[in-house]
């Protein structure tokens, strides 16, 4: 059985900006934990305790949060990929510390413990695949009658099969010789096949969720939040109504007459209410203040955020350290959002980058995306995409 996993967590995730300006994609927080932590926990549950983390872009964020791995019950070795050239190149950085056999996966895609459980029994080399409705977005895998991979074609115009590569592999050290020749792992796999290696395709039906665009944070949050372990820390004042799955961290105060309808996760050291309304599928970070008469719904709030009184925030992501004065409105609605030149039709509230400062009674149009450290004066309407450090006067 495989005992080691090499997790690739060096990537930036440009389409997720502004949330990846200061952190790698793997450190995007979902239901109060970074994606990478879910990946490590799924491995730890299956006894894979020797973890090699390939870090690069904004690696300090990984160090600060994951540390030595002791808190998660695993032993972590860090290796650095100085330039993010590709997945095979990232894997190659771990050559010195790799065991004889190991798993390889991405640190920015959620994975279930069951999926890992079945795969670790497989003898390398092997690749985990999954049937999907829209294979052209992925690497499309062709499989022969013995269940061996014939080829992987990245994002083809026409897909030969509906089987997609999940990016989870089991390898022996032999892979490094092939990885040294190319930049991405699928290319290394194709080369292994053409030099006569048999690579087993193992099919999974497990959920595998990815964040590609900022609004994916919301759907991922909704999918994961139901599984957060229950716990009520801190002080719940009188008249507070708690329904459904609600988790409240240590030293948090929920003030009188607030209503919280789960699934909701609230971090530690927060000050919520009085008369606040936290509605389903909302995650709140640590040290967050939510003032009186504010309603939050299906949103993700980062650490150290201060939300003033009388705000309505729906289907929104609020980055770490934002200060929002009273009566901010970010209501959900149909929006056309442009990311990297592509247009997407989504139902969305607003996306606020880190450290934004909003005056009283600001209104965000559906789909507004504010970069980091934007300043918006009172009574302004914000719409579309604002670059980092924009000033709205």
């Amino acid at each position: 059985m495989v005992k080691q996993a090499i997790i690739l967590a060096a990537g930036e995730g440009r389409r997720l900006r502004p949330f990846t300006v200061n952190r790698p994609k793997a450190m995007i927080s979902i239901a109060h934990k970074p994606i990478l932590q879910y990946v490590i926990e799924a491995l730890a549950q299956n006894g894979v305790l020797d973890i090699v983390l390939v870090v690069g872009y904004r690696k300090e964020q990984v160090f600060d949060h994951i540390g030595s791995g002791e808190q998660l019950g695993v032993n972590i070795t860090y290796v650095t990929q100085a330039e993010q050239l590709g997945t095979a190149h990232a894997l190659l950085q771990a050559r010195e510390v790799a065991a004889d056999e190991f798993l390889v996966m991405s640190g920015d895609k959620l994975i279930e413990a069951d999926t890992v459980a079945r795969f670790i029994e497989t003898a390398p080399p092997a690749v985990l695949v999954k049937k999907v409705p829209d294979p052209v977005r992925y690497g499309v895998v062709s499989i022969d009658e013995r269940g061996m991979v014939k080829s992987i074609v990245e994002k083809p115009k026409v897909a030969e099969t509906n089987i997609a590569n999940t990016g989870i592999y089991a390898f022996s050290r032999e892979v490094f010789d092939f990885a040294a020749e190319v930049l991405d792992i699928p290319d290394a796999l194709n080369n292994m096949i053409s030099s006569g290696r048999n690579i087993l395709a193992v099919e999974t039906t497990g959920v595998r969720l990815d964040v590609v665009y900022p609004w994916d944070i919301l759907s991922l949050n909704e999918a994961v939040i139901r599984r957060v372990p229950l716990g009520l820390g801190g002080v719940i004042e009188s008249g507070v109504s708690l329904r459904g799955r609600v988790t409240v961290g240590q030293d948090t105060v929920i003030r009188a007459n607030s209503t919280i309808v789960g699934p909701v996760v609230i971090g530690s050291g927060c000050d919520i209410g009085p008369n606040a309304c936290i509605l389903p599928a909302t995650s709140i970070g640590d040290n967050v203040t939510v003032s009186a008469f504010t309603a939050l719904q299906n949103s993700v709030i980062g650490n150290d955020v201060n939300i003033g009184p009388g705000c309505i925030i729906q289907d929104s992501v609020i980055g770490r350290g934002c200060v929002i004065k009273g009566h901010f409105t970010a209501c959900t609605g149909q929006a056309e959002v442009k990311v990297n030149g592509e247009y997407h039709q989504v139902n969305l509230g607003a996306m606020l980058g880190e450290g934004c400062n909003l005056g009283n009674s600001v209104v965000a149009q559906p789909g507004a995306i504010l970069g980091n450290n934007c300043q918006v004066q009172a009574l302004k309407l914000v719409a579309g995409r604002l670059p980092d450090k924009s000033l709205v006067v």
């Binding site: 690696k59 160090f63 540390g67 030595s68 030293d251 050291g269 201060n306 200060v323 450290g355």
Partner: protein
């Protein structure tokens, strides 16, 4: 200043001792040694770091032993002066942290009765004294020896043939770690966290007998039960978690440290107001005493209190106050010490208590000596700080000072609300400084080639200039001086020029304009100038050659933000120069001797 460890139990002691010692190198590292206990005693020591000695030694069997890592006080670093020290027969070995002030008299007496000394240390009198009293019971011999001794000590003694450690402390820190059929002794908690989190803190005057199966503590000859504490720190806190140096790891921990410290205070609602009653005898005329980096926190504390509460505050260096410092009787006093073991600060506390003061302590170590002497303790939640250069403990001390001053602030309630809101936002603002690390690194690269640097600031940012200079000199060995900007022209101007860059902290408060004048004067002397300026005030920074941009905060909190920027500047300058950042030469973490 030294670190000592002891082990007795079911494992081979040698690797355990070395592992524990490696965690104590912040207390000293000019030489080290171990002694393994069996039917005889085997001592191995040298003037090298712990890792080097560990590598050089073959495995030596033994289920018990003691170890020491040294920071020289009596006698230069050398193999002879390294601990453990033995008696004439080589059957008794002792490790010691502290200073024996009457050692010369004891040594002369012992020599006259035929004892032969091998080192120049004060410690060596201990094994010889124990030898002279030893009649088959080590504990009794240690007790009788300590009665002869004046000064401070934490010691572990062993004798060949007796499977036990005898430990004792007075005015030097010592803890016992409780394991399963094994026990540990160490100067500080991180040393033993790999093995156990159950800890007993010894009190002054305690003598303990430690065997594999148990610990028996006696105070003045009477058996006493000392409470066992469960340490919440994890080993992870004592490791580098991917970072190259503890200093950078600890700088990066600061947002979390501020959050944890505030969380503790906010959840204990009203703590500060209870500790210091408002009105008469409150913060007015309070004396704040501290040493080193904590002294800079104390100076900033003066500005915080004087600005927010508008009452006078006095700040003293603890090491100087002990000579002839005076306080009005009955007033409040505050002593700041990260370790809670700084000898000068402890002496000040005792002196203040004798003068009838209510003594408050801000410390990072629960159960430390300072926390036991003080009438009230405000704990910071920085966790163990390994890097010799203090970073996160300093920031957490500032948070404690803000929290202490805010309930007394003479501002309207709306402003107070806003100040508290901004205080809670500080973790995010500090993170923004850290996210800007790459830019600060570029400034550090340029700074690293100079040999003299001046730091200037005004108001609350004057102590920040002192702290910035201290950080730079201690880790990068660049000669650095901090000045109040107005004082530069009273002398130091003579040293300015193209080879003496100036780092100017340009706050956007009432000191801003005067700072601009200072900067123009410096520019006229051709000194390269790095300005630390707030976002939105970039225009002011343009007068300088280059500017470090920091996030905008309420001016009361600007020392926090500016200090973090200067910490990074010092770290990267030291890295550029290839300095041993976590263990700078001649320095030790907490100074438990005067």
């Amino acid at each position: 200043m030294c670190g000592i460890v002891g082990y007795i139990g079911r494992r081979q002691a040698q690797p355990v001792l070395f592992n524990c010692l490696s965690k104590l190198e912040y207390r000293g590292y000019d030489s080290c040694g171990i002694a393994l206990l069996g039917d005889s005693i085997q001592v191995c020591k040298d003037e090298v770091r712990v890792k080097a000695l560990e590598k050089a030694l073959p495995p030596i069997a033994g289920l018990a032993g003691i170890g020491h890592t040294r920071w020289a006080t009596h006698g230069e670093p050398s193999r002879a002066n390294a601990h453990p020290h033995c008696d004439c027969t080589g059957r008794i070995a002792v490790v010691h942290n502290g200073v024996i002030s009457n050692f010369q008299r004891l040594k002369d007496k012992l020599i006259s009765t035929g004892h032969v000394f091998a080192s120049e240390t004060d410690t060596e009198v201990l094994p010889h004294l124990i030898e002279s009293y030893y009649q088959g019971d080590l504990e009794e011999a240690v007790e009788r020896s300590l009665a002869d001794i004046e000064g401070s000590y934490a010691i572990i003694a062993v004798v060949a043939g007796e499977a036990k450690l005898v430990v004792a402390r007075k005015d030097s820190p010592l803890i016992i770690g409780i394991g399963d059929r094994e026990n540990f002794v160490a100067s500080d908690v991180p040393a033993i966290l790999d093995y156990t989190s159950r800890v007993v803190y010894l009190e002054d005057g305690d003598i303990a007998l430690v065997t594999a199966d148990g610990v028996r503590v006696r105070e003045n000859g009477a058996r006493i039960d000392r409470a066992e504490h469960l340490i919440q720190w994890s080993v992870a806190d004592a490791q580098k978690s991917g970072y190259e140096h503890f200093m950078l790891k600890e700088i990066h921990e600061q947002p979390r440290v501020i959050r944890d410290t505030l969380r503790e205070y906010i959840s204990a609602d009203g703590l500060a107001a209870e500790v210091i009653p408002s009105g008469e005898g409150g913060l007015e005329n309070m004396l704040i005493a501290a040493c080193g980096t904590s002294y800079h926190a104390a100076l900033i504390g003066k500005y915080i209190i004087e600005q927010l509460v508008r009452v006078p505050v006095k700040v003293e260096l603890a090491s100087e106050f002990n000579y002839c410092g005076q306080v009005p009787p009955g007033s409040n006093a505050l002593v700041i010490t990260q370790s809670g073991e700084t000898a000068d600060a402890l002496k000040t506390m005792k002196k203040l208590k004798e003068a009838g003061c209510q003594v408050l302590a801000i410390t990072n170590v629960v159960g430390s000596t300072a926390s036991r002497i003080a009438d009230h303790v405000i704990y910071t939640r920085a966790g163990p700080e390994i890097s010799v250069a203090a970073t996160k403990s300093f920031i957490s001390q500032l948070v404690a000072l803000y929290w202490m001053a805010l309930p007394h602030a003479r501002v309207d309630l709306r402003t107070l609300d806003e100040l508290i809101m901004e205080l809670r936002q500080l973790p995010a603002r500090v993170q923004e400084v850290l996210d800007n690390e790459a830019a600060i690194r570029e400034h550090a690269r340029r700074l690293a080639r100079f040999n003299d640097v001046f730091f200037i600031g005004r108001g609350a940012n004057y102590p920040v200039a002192l702290e910035g200079a201290l950080k730079l000199k201690e880790v990068s060995y660049i000669h650095a001086e901090g000045y109040a900007a107005g004082e530069l022209k009273h002398g130091p101007f003579a040293l300015l020029g193209a080879e003496a860059p100036v780092v100017a902290i340009l706050a956007s408060d009432h000191t801003g304009e005067a700072m601009l004048t200072s900067i123009k004067e410096i520019r006229a002397r051709k000194s390269p100038l790095i300005a630390v300026v707030e976002e939105g005030n970039e225009a002011a920074g343009e007068i300088a050659d280059s500017a470090i941009i920091v996030p905008r905060v309420n001016q009361v909190f600007s020392p926090v933000i500016n200090t973090v920027a200067l910490q990074l500047l010092a770290y990267y300058a030291a890295r550029e120069r290839g300095c041993p950042i976590d263990f700078p030469r001649n320095l030790a973490k907490s100074v438990t001797v005067e």
